[in-house]
Amino acid sequence: MKYKDYYAALGVERTATADQIKAAYRKLARKYHPDVSKEKDAEEKFKEVAEAYETLKDPEKRAAYDQLGSHRPGDEFRPPPDWQQSFGNAQFSFDDLDLADLFANLAGRSGRGGQRGANAPFPGQDFEAAVRLSFEQAYGGTEIEFDMAVSEPDENGFLRRVPRKVKVRIPKGVTDGQKLRVPGKGGKGINGGRDGDLYLDIGVESHPLYRADGLDLYMELPLAPWEAVLGATVELPTPAGRISLKVPAGTQAGRKLRLAGRGLARPDGTAGHLYAVAQIVVPTVVDERQRALYGQLQDASTFNPRAHLT
């Protein structure tokens, strides 16, 4: 196990009071928290600072940490021989554990926010993961696999880092930014405490044709000028297959034509709509006859699209 100097991470002396430790942490949290920081490597720095504070803010964890002795950061080390007996019943295989794992497991024995017996049930750790899906995966649902490494007791009761592969069924109709919960797939509970959960933060890749807004989808509907004026029946792709859409005569640019129920659909039956947003597209190359016809139209029409500007 590699040693980390938590006091140095917070910039405090080993004799710092609880208030001094808290003040130091708050200052560093404001500086490095990813939600507010523009510092380079803010996320990594915040993680170091938060890990240090998580241990030093708890009197029992701090005492256990102090009993590990002082070592050079990054050096491999082993706790003193009687350390395990002094701080809980767990047996640790120090080779596989990270320092943070050691104190996270101590929380199960000392209790959170109060006095607990060494055998009191304690819930397992929740895990969070970011998941990136293609539009098609989000639309139709999918299965994804995670590789996780969690610390839990083996058959001999020794705490070890155990690799776990979790396969998760993602329901159809998830949207960008949606959160999902996978019950019981976090860390193991201690002494019969409930297992933690796995929380997924969904990101959905953009699609070249469709833009999602909640369950609704939007797509561009390019129309030739005569189609917009005279109306037309046009063929469109949708996520569920091609359809024919009747474009009313006199369709202006920006008009949204709604295809009900053809947006994202959820397993419970709720579905959004697909909106085809009209765009008037003019040909850039016209032959002589077409140019002449456009000229006749120009002469025959009194339509002034800029009347409101005069």
Partner: protein, 109 residues
């Protein structure tokens, strides 16, 4: 040894009926902290006047975010947590709107 498991993921959205005790368990907040979030309007039970509040599953996300902000910034006062949470949500909504406006349909060009 690698263990292989298959599990279903459940959407956290405006459906569901999560009890106060379940929300406490899922979020890591205390019941007193949850009540302060409700008082400040940061969390909304389905029926405020009900004897036993229930919440949509989306509230698990809100409550967990509140707990994360409380712990990340070492905030002692639940009222401060509620304010920070509302600001955080406002930033999220603005960033979402900015992404929507800066690309695709309905975008400013």
């Amino acid at each position: 040894m690698v263990r292989f498991e298959l599990a279903s993921a459940f959407m956290l959205d405006d459906t569901g009926a999560i009890s106060v005790s379940e929300l406490v368990e899922q979020s890591g907040l205390s019941e007193a902290e949850l009540r302060v979030l409700v008082d400040c309007g940061a969390l909304a039970p389905r029926d405020l006047r009900a004897a036993a509040w229930t919440f949509s599953s989306q509230c698990i996300v809100t409550a967990r975010t509140a707990r994360r902000l409380r712990d990340d910034f070492a905030l002692d006062d639940a009222h401060v947590v509620a304010i920070v949470l509302r600001l955080h949500e406002r930033i999220d909504a603005l960033e979402h709107e900015l992404r929507r406006l800066s690309g695709g349909h309905g975008a400013l060009r």
